[in-house]
Subunit: 137 residues, 4 copies
């Protein structure tokens, strides 16, 4: 078992490690690097590879499970969900909207116009689309 290439964590960042893991998995799924049905490393494997405590991985996996990104099959392991329909969609949309408003205000304080803010978002989206192409090849 080697460290999954789709996951990088940095224990020195301020973000909790378990958040870094969930983010990494979600990113890999969104990119298509991880496909529905793919098996994730076991809790203990991943904990060993990332050199973190296994409970940290447990917490990350549980959060991914409540977000319906992964599903646990008893005794067999953990897999990318085939039916990723979260029940907390509305709350997460609200949270996203709030975050956007905050960042819009932040951008204004950084000297940007609202148009420049929109452009920045476009840039992020394009960067993502390009990166996704790259991964697929």
């Amino acid at each position: 078992m080697v460290k999954p290439m789709w996951l990088n964590i940095n224990p020195r960042l301020t973000d909790p490690i378990y958040i870094q893991i969930t983010r990494g998995v979600k990113s890999a799924v969104a990119k298509g690097v991880l496909q529905p049905g793919d098996k994730l490393p076991s809790v203990r494997e991943l904990a060993t590879e990332l050199a973190v405590n296994h409970n940290t991985v447990v917490k990350a996996y549980q959060e991914l499970e409540t977000d319906k990104v992964i599903e646990v099959i008893r005794g067999r392991g953990t897999f990318i969900s085939l039916n990723p329909n979260p029940s907390n969609r509305d709350e997460r949309m609200d949270e996203m909207r709030k975050s956007m408003r905050t960042w819009l205000i932040e951008s204004i304080h950084l000297g940007m116009s609202t148009d420049e803010f929109t452009d920045l978002v476009q840039e992020i989206v394009h960067e993502w689309n390009d990166g996704k192409e790259g991964e697929k090849e």
Copy 2:
């Protein structure tokens, strides 16, 4: 001294209170409700009015000062900055980009296309522009 009408804080939200304060000030400045040179309430006053801990306001003001949103003039008080050019611009831009990428991934997991994500951001921007008009009148 009465509670500033431009600031509402809610200790029940998950966001730290000092963040709610900085956000409120930044929002008021971005909207033009607070203008450069305007005097802010003192730490002591604001803490009393918001019924929060004195240190919480100190922390908020410190953060606003490092972001060059406000200026503290010793013995005179705290004012909206006349020269709001932050030195930490690059880090904050980076942080914003990272957050955008995270939210883009989140939106994909919520079943949105990248176009729908862009639309959502547009919606937020328009909502802001409309709201800003409202405030000015």
Copy 3:
């Protein structure tokens, strides 16, 4: 030996597989699909057909035996019990009462009145009676 049509198991559910098996057998017996004296598949057969671990079926059969739902006759096989009088009746009744209390509390937290809770149970019972008619035809 083919997979019994009266038994469906799904390793993705959170319920342990051995519980799913006992539940399936109990349900089939309660519906009359399995009659006293009917022969059940052997542990080995069932494990193969359901594509589950052999020990999982062993555990399910053991539990069914202690509940006096099935009887193992050495050398002949496993059969639906002719005399289904469990010795652990009192404990199981207690367990049922506890579960009912827990669900009653849960229903209150979901905004239901005790009457609505009773109605829900009625609904379940009617659904069962209808389904049982369907099976018999």
Copy 4:
């Protein structure tokens, strides 16, 4: 700080301790022993009183929070929710229905008719209503 009279836990039961805590709090809230706005003991207080690890209490409180039974006010403590509207209502209702079906089948295997099952549920409901009266006095 004394052990809350509304909470009994037994580390020897098979149910995880954190579930026993959530159940106890939900029960007390449903009974009206704990009212919206009431303060719960702090994580560390409760952990000390129950002689369990504080993380066990943390887990229980977090589950109660996602079920919207309690809410955390930063730095002040944990309180019974004023607005207990859970977002996972549908899933919990489904879970309840499934459990009811299972218990109905169980009751049949314990020699009860469907009418007797209904009666048992009535008995539980009446016992609850009586107990609730008792608590109120």
